[in-house]
C-alpha cells in the first residue's frame, strides 16, 4: 500500500457507512474545531539544496552521553520485582477557581480512601516527597509566553516535579515502577504555552521525557495516554519525534474536548505512525478498551520495544465521570495498569471525585504494586452492567485494522512523505485555549535534515480579546546534527532583530541552553 498523507486521510475516511452518518450528525458541534485543526502542508519554498557531509556531526549528536551497554528495557519486558514509588500530591491548597473541577476537593476522598486502606504502610510501596521542577526542566519542553513564571506557577512546578522525583527513584533502582498521583494535570499543554488549555498549563509527561533524555540518556520512550480526552498537547510536542511513540485512546473527538485525536493524525513526516490515535465510540465499556489494548496497543508496544513506558493515567473514562461519556470501571482500570505495566504513571484528568477517583486510584496503586485489587470496586457496580454494542465492536475492528496497517508500514510512510518534501515541512495550526479563552494561530516549520530530526521553528500569534503576544520560537532537538544547530542559532539571531515579535525564543536541547529575547527592550534571558 502506497500512502501519502493525503491518501491516508482518504483511506481512513473509507470506514463503514455508520461512521459517516455519525460524522454528519456531529458536524455542527465539531465542525468549527475540525476546520481549525485542519493541517495545511506548504511545499518547501527553500529551493537551495545543502550539501551535507556523508558522515560526521550528526552521528556525534546521536551518540552523545549514552553507552550502548546501558540501554534499558521497559518493565513490561522485565521480571516484576521491587517497590512501587508513589507521590500523592493533592494540592489541598490550590484550585483554578472555587467551583472548577480542578479544585482543592478533587483528591480529598482519594486521600481518605488510600490513607484508610493504609496503602502508604505497605512494604511494597515507597512514598516520596514532591519537589519543584526547575525552570530549565520546563524550558526543555515549552516556550512559555511571556516567561515560565507566567505559565508555570508553583503548583504546576510541583506537579511536574513529582514525576521527576519518581524518575530519579526509578533510574537509581530504588523502585520498580512509580505513580505520580499529583495535580494539576498537563497533557493538553502544547509546546508553546500562552495560557491554560483543558485545565493544563505545562505538560508533566513531556517534561518527564526530556528530563529522562537529558539526565539519563534514555532514547526510546512510549507514552500511552489513557485519559478520556485526546492527549493533544503531548501529541503535538512529540509529533515529529520517532523516538517517542505516542498512543492515545479516548472518546471520539467529535463528541468531546479537545475535538482531535483522529486516526489521520499520525505524526510528522519523519515520525509517521509514531503517533497512534484510537478514537473510541462513546459508552465503550471495559470489554472494548481491553480489546483495543490486546489487539492494537500491546502488539505495537511490544514491537517498538521502548526503554520506558509512561502512562498518562487519566481516570475520566469511568462510567460516572461528569465530563465524559465512557463506561470504564475500576476493575477495567486496574487490569489495564497491570497489563500495560507502565514504568511511570502520571495522573491526568478524572473528575468523578467521589464515585470513581477513590476507588480507581486504590485499584491502580495496588495493581502497580503487584497486589490483589480484586476487592476494589465502586459501591454501585455489578459485573456485566455494561455491554459492548455490536455496532461499536465493528468500529473497533476497523480501528485495529487501519492502525496496525499504518504501524506495519511506518518506515515506508516516512520514506514516502520525506521524498515528497523539500528542505522544510510546514504546517499551519489553530489552537484554542478553552480555560483561558485564547485563540492561537501557528505556523510550524521543520527542517528536513537527512542527518537528524531537524530543527523546528514556530511562529505564533495569540489572541485574547484585543491583546495577545506574537512570538517566534526555535527548537533544536537533543540529538540534532551540528549543521542544523548552527542554522537554528542563526535563525534565532536573525529574528531577534524583528520588532514585530514580542518575544523570540531559543530552545537548544543539544547544549541544554534556553534563551528568550525581547526585541523591543533588547534584553535576553538565558537559562
Amino acid at each position: 500500500m502506497k500512502l501519502g498523507l493525503g491518501k491516508i486521510r482518504d483511506v481512513l475516511a473509507g470506514s463503514p457507512e455508520q461512521e459517516k452518518e455519525n460524522k454528519a450528525e456531529a458536524k455542527d458541534v465539531v465542525a468549527r474545531k475540525e476546520e481549525e485543526e485542519e493541517e495545511k502542508e506548504i511545499d518547501s519554498r527553500d529551493e537551495d539544496q545543502e550539501t551535507i557531509n556523508e558522515k560526521g556531526q550528526g552521528e556525534e549528536g546521536i551518540s552523545m552521553k549514552k553507552p550502548e551497554s546501558h540501554i534499558r528495557t521497559a518493565r513490561r519486558f522485565q521480571p516484576n520485582e521491587g517497590k512501587t514509588g508513589l507521590i500523592f500530591f493533592p494540592a489541598f491548597d490550590w484550585a483554578i477557581s472555587p467551583t472548577h473541577p480542578e479544585r482543592e476537593e478533587r483528591l480529598l476522598y482519594t486521600r481518605d480512601q488510600i490513607f484508610e486502606e493504609g496503602l502508604m504502610d505497605l512494604p511494597e510501596i515507597a512514598e516520596y516527597k514532591p519537589r519543584l521542577a526547575e525552570f530549565k526542566d520546563i524550558a526543555r519542553v515549552h516556550f512559555c509566553v511571556p516567561d515560565i513564571e507566567a505559565q508555570a506557577t508553583v503548583p504546576h512546578q510541583i506537579s511536574a516535579g513529582c514525576s521527576l522525583v519518581l524518575a530519579d527513584a526509578l533510574m537509581k533502582g530504588e523502585v520498580k515502577n512509580a505513580f505520580s498521583l499529583a495535580r494539576p494535570p498537563g497533557h493538553h499543554a502544547m509546546r508553546v504555552a500562552h495560557g491554560n488549555r483543558g485545565f493544563c498549563n505545562i505538560n508533566n509527561e513531556a517534561i518527564l521525557v526530556e528530563y529522562l533524555r537529558r539526565k539519563y540518556g534514555i532514547r526510546k520512550i512510549a507514552i500511552v495516554d489513557t485519559d478520556v480526552h485526546h492527549g493533544d498537547g503531548t501529541q503535538e510536542i512529540f509529533y515529529h519525534d520517532p523516538d517517542v511513540l505516542f498512543i492515545s485512546f479516548h472518546q471520539d473527538g467529535r463528541t468531546i474536548f479537545p475535538g482531535t485525536g483522529f486516526m489521520n493524525e499520525l505524526g510528522g513526516p519523519k515520525a509517521l505512525a509514531r503517533t497512534i490515535n484510537i478514537p473510541l465510540p462513546p459508552a465503550t465499556p471495559d470489554e472494548g478498551i481491553h480489546y483495543i489494548l490486546d489487539k492494537l496497543v500491546f502488539p505495537i508496544l511490544d514491537d517498538f520495544k521502548p526503554e520506558l513506558i509512561l502512562n498518562s493515567a487519566g481516570q475520566d473514562n469511568h462510567y460516572t465521570d461528569p465530563l465524559a461519556n465512557m463506561r470504564f470501571s475500576v476493575q477495567g482500570y486496574a487490569k489495564l495498569n497491570e497489563k500495560l505495566a507502565p514504568d511511570i504513571a502520571v495522573l491526568e484528568g478524572g473528575y468523578a471525585i467521589e464515585t470513581a477517583l477513590p476507588y480507581v486510584n486504590t485499584g491502580i496503586i495496588l495493581a502497580m504494586a503487584g497486589l490483589d485489587y480484586s476487592h476494589v470496586r465502586e459501591p454501585d457496580y455489578t459485573p456485566g452492567m455494561f455491554v459492548q454494542a455490536k455496532r461499536d465492536r465493528q468500529m473497533l475492528d476497523e480501528i485495529v485494522r487501519v492502525q496496525l496497517e499504518n504501524w506495519k508500514n511506518r518506515d515506508f510512510l516516512v520514506e514516502e512523505a520525506v521524498s515528497d518534501l523539500g528542505d522544510f515541512y510546514r504546517r499551519k495550526k489553530s489552537i484554542f485555549y478553552d480555560t483561558d479563552m485564547i485563540q492561537e494561530s501557528q505556523e510550524e516549520s521543520v527542517r528536513m535534515c537527512p542527518d537528524c530530526l531537524g530543527y523546528m521553528t514556530i511562529d505564533s500569534q495569540a489572541q485574547h480579546g484585543y491583546s495577545g503576544a506574537k512570538v517566534f520560537c526555535v527548537s533544536i532537538p537533543i540529538y540534532a546534527c551540528e549543521k542544523c544547530r548552527k542554522e537554528a542559532l542563526e535563525v534565532y539571531r536573525d529574528h531577534t532583530h524583528d520588532i514585530k515579535y514580542d518575544y523570540v525564543y531559543l530552545q537548544d536541547k543539544k547544549a541544554d541552553v534556553y534563551k528568550s529575547y525581547n526585541p523591543k527592550t533588547r534584553q535576553e534571558r538565558v537559562l
Partner: protein, 573 residues
C-alpha cells in the same frame, strides 16, 4: 516534691525533685518477672526520709505493655472486621479475624448493609471457640460507627459476658489496618493493665502516698493513672519518651538537640527541633503491628557499649585489608568488666576516655584486635570508637533526612524549607559516655552531658506535663461531626451553631477548642487546656454541579509535650 520513676529494661531509675531541683536519685536492677517490685523498690529508695504528705506528684513510665506484647502474654481477641471495598482482607495478617459483609464510605454513608445472619453465625462461632474478648472494627467506622455498634449488640446478645471493644472508640485517624491493630492490642492488654494499675494503687496506699499519680505516654505526656486504663496501649515506648523529655528538661530552651542514649546493646536516638521533641509522623510500631499510638520519632540502632567487636575483611578485600565491625550482638558485659569479648567500652578504657573497668583486661581485649589488624593497641582502639560513633552519627543524619523528606500534601509544605542546625548532642543514660563527644564531633555539634544524665529518663518522667490531641472532622452536608480520639459521630445541631450551612473556619476552630476543653476536663488536666494550639485547620468546599452543597472542615488541636512549670530548667541547663 515530685517523683519520677522509669522502669527500663535493665535498671529502674528514680528521682526526687524538690523546689525544681534534683534532691536524690536511685537506681535498682529491673526484675523482668516482677516490674511492680522493681518500681516499688526504686520508689522506696528515692523517697527515703520523706514523709508521704510532702509528695505532690508521682509519675511512672513503664514497659509493662511492651513486655506483655513481646512475650505474647496478652489475651486472645476475636477480631470482627467489616472492611468493605478496597484491599483484599485475606492479605491482612491479624490473628483470629472474622471478615463480615457491609461497608461505609469515606463520607460515612452506608454503601453495603450488614448481613445480620452472617454476624449471628460468626458470633456463635466465637462463642464456640471460647473467646472472652472481641474487637469490632469497620473501615471508615470513625466516620460512621453504625456497623460496629450493631455488631456489638448482636455479640452481646449471642455471647453473654463477652468483653467488646470498638475500633472507632480506640483510634479515629484514617488507616484501617492500624486501627485494627491498635484496637486489638488495647483489648488484649486491658485486663492485665488494669491489674497492674490496681497493684500500684495498693502499694501506694500502703505507703500512705496520696499525691496524684500519673503514667507517661509514648508521646511524652502524662495521664492520671486511673484514666490510663482506658488507653493502655498509649503507655508503650514510654521509656524513650521519658529520656526525650529528660533531654528537653536538661538543655536550654528552644535549641535543637539529638538525644543519644547509649545502652549496652542498643543506642536510642530522638530529636528535639527548636525546643520541640519530634513526633513520629505516623503511629508507633509495636512488635509486628503498626498502630495509631502517637509517639516520638525514636530510632534504636544495634550499637552499644557492650556490642561485640570483630575484625572482618574490608569490601575491597583484594588488598587483603581488614576492618573492625561493632555489633549488632552483645555477648555479655565488656571484657574489662569480666565479659567474654572486646567491646567499645574496652576501647574507651584503653584510650583513657573512660575509667570504667580494669585497664589490664581492656588492653588484653584490644590487643587481640590489634594483632588481627596489624596495628597498635591505641590505633585499634581509635578505630573501634570511630566505627561505633560513625554508626551513631550516620543514624542521626538518617533521621534528619527522613524528617526533611516527609511527604507533603500541600503547596506550602513543599515550599517550607526544612532545615535545622543541630546544636547539641545530649548524652542521657548511663552507658558509654565517652562516645558522646566523638559523635558530636562527627555531627559538628556540642557534646552535652548534663548533671544527673544517668537518671535523665526519671527526670523526664518527673517533669513531663500532660498532652492531649483532638482531631475534629465536620461534614456540613451530612450535618455531623466526629472526633477522631473518641470516635462518636454527633449531629451538628447539638452544638448550638446557628446556621450550619454558613459555618466558617472560625466556628469549626471554636467547636474544636470547646471539645478539647471538655476532653481535658475528662482526663483531669483542665489546667493545661489553655496550652492547646491549633496545628491544622482546613476547609474544603463540596461542589456538586456548580453549586456549593456543603463544607468539610478538619481541625487538629494539641496540648504538646512539654515540662511542668515547677521545673526550673534555665538554672539546671
Amino acid at each position: 516534691m515530685l517523683i519520677g520513676i522509669d522502669v527500663g529494661g535493665t535498671t529502674t531509675d528514680a528521682v526526687l525533685i524538690e523546689n525544681g531541683k534534683v534532691r536524690s536519685t536511685a537506681k535498682v536492677p529491673t526484675e523482668p518477672r516482677n516490674l511492680l517490685e522493681s518500681l516499688i523498690s526504686a520508689l522506696d529508695a528515692v523517697s527515703e526520709g520523706v514523709s508521704p504528705g510532702q509528695l505532690e506528684r508521682v509519675v511512672f513510665s513503664t514497659t509493662v505493655i511492651t513486655n506483655l506484647i513481646a512475650e505474647g502474654k496478652t489475651d486472645p481477641v476475636a477480631l470482627l472486621l467489616v472492611p468493605g471495598p478496597g484491599m483484599n482482607p485475606a492479605g491482612y495478617n491479624f490473628p483470629d479475624s472474622f471478615i463480615l459483609k457491609g461497608a461505609v464510605d469515606y463520607r460515612g454513608r452506608e454503601i453495603q448493609v450488614l448481613d445480620e445472619k452472617e454476624v449471628r453465625e460468626t458470633a456463635a462461632l466465637i462463642k464456640e471457640q471460647g473467646f472472652s474478648r472481641a474487637a469490632v472494627i469497620s473501615k471508615f467506622g470513625q466516620r460512621n460507627p453504625v456497623h460496629e455498634k450493631r455488631v456489638k449488640e448482636i455479640l452481646e446478645e449471642v455471647v453473654p459476658g463477652l468483653k467488646i471493644e470498638l475500633g472507632h472508640r480506640n483510634a479515629g485517624r484514617l488507616n484501617f489496618p492500624r486501627r485494627v491493630a491498635t484496637t486489638m492490642l488495647a483489648t488484649a492488654a486491658k485486663d492485665r493493665y488494669r491489674d497492674f494499675v490496681e497493684e500500684i494503687r495498693k502499694a501506694l496506699s500502703e505507703r500512705k502516698i496520696e499525691a496524684p499519680v500519673y503514667i507517661l505516654k509514648a508521646d511524652g505526656g502524662t495521664l492520671p493513672l486511673e484514666k490510663s486504663e482506658e488507653v493502655p496501649v498509649e503507655t508503650i515506648f514510654s521509656g524513650p519518651a521519658a529520656s526525650t523529655i529528660g533531654a528537653l528538661a536538661l538543655t536550654p530552651r528552644g535549641e535543637s538537640s539529638v538525644l543519644v542514649d547509649i545502652g549496652g546493646t542498643t543506642t536510642d536516638l530522638a530529636l528535639i527541633l527548636s525546643g520541640e521533641p519530634l513526633m513520629a509522623s505516623k503511629g508507633a510500631k509495636l512488635g509486628r503491628f503498626l498502630t495509631h499510638v502517637r509517639a516520638f520519632a525514636v530510632r534504636s540502632i544495634p550499637v552499644g557499649g557492650d556490642s561485640a567487636v570483630r575484625v572482618i575483611a574490608s569490601e575491597n578485600a583484594s588488598a587483603g585489608k581488614k576492618k573492625v565491625s561493632v555489633g549488632p550482638d552483645r555477648k555479655g558485659p565488656a571484657f574489662c568488666l569480666g565479659g567474654p569479648e572486646p567491646t567499645p567500652t574496652d576501647a574507651l578504657r584503653v584510650l583513657g576516655i573512660s575509667s570504667i573497668g580494669d585497664l589490664a583486661l581492656a588492653k588484653e581485649a584490644i590487643a587481640g584486635i590489634a594483632a588481627e589488624l596489624g596495628k597498635s593497641e591505641e590505633e585499634s582502639a581509635e578505630l573501634i570508637v570511630d566505627k561505633a560513633t560513625e554508626m551513631i552519627a550516620a543514624a542521626v543524619k538518617g533521621m534528619f533526612l527522613e524528617w526533611e523528606q516527609e511527604p507533603a500534601y500541600r503547596i506550602w509544605e513543599v515550599l517550607q524549607e526544612k532545615k535545622e542546625d543541630l546544636r547539641n548532642v545530649v548524652g542521657i543514660g548511663g552507658g558509654a559516655r565517652g562516645l558522646i563527644s566523638k559523635v558530636a564531633e562527627k555531627l559538628d555539634a556540642n557534646p552535652v552531658i548534663p548533671e544527673h544524665a544517668e537518671v535523665g529518663n526519671a527526670i523526664g518522667a518527673a517533669v513531663a506535663r500532660p498532652t492531649l490531641t483532638l482531631n475534629l472532622h465536620i461534614d456540613t452536608e451530612r450535618k455531623e461531626y466526629s472526633v477522631a480520639e473518641d470516635g462518636d459521630v454527633v449531629k451538628l445541631h447539638t452544638t448550638g451553631i446557628k446556621n450550619i450551612n454558613k459555618m466558617r473556619s472560625e466556628d469549626a476552630e471554636a467547636l474544636a477548642a470547646e471539645l478539647l476543653r471538655k476532653r481535658a476536663e475528662h482526663f483531669g488536666i483542665s489546667e493545661y487546656a489553655g496550652e492547646a494550639e491549633t496545628t491544622r485547620s482546613e476547609v474544603f468546599n463540596m461542589i456538586r454541579g456548580w453549586a456549593t452543597v456543603g463544607k468539610l472542615f478538619d481541625v487538629s488541636m494539641q496540648i504538646p509535650a512539654g515540662l511542668i512549670p515547677e521545673w526550673k530548667r534555665e538554672e539546671q541547663a
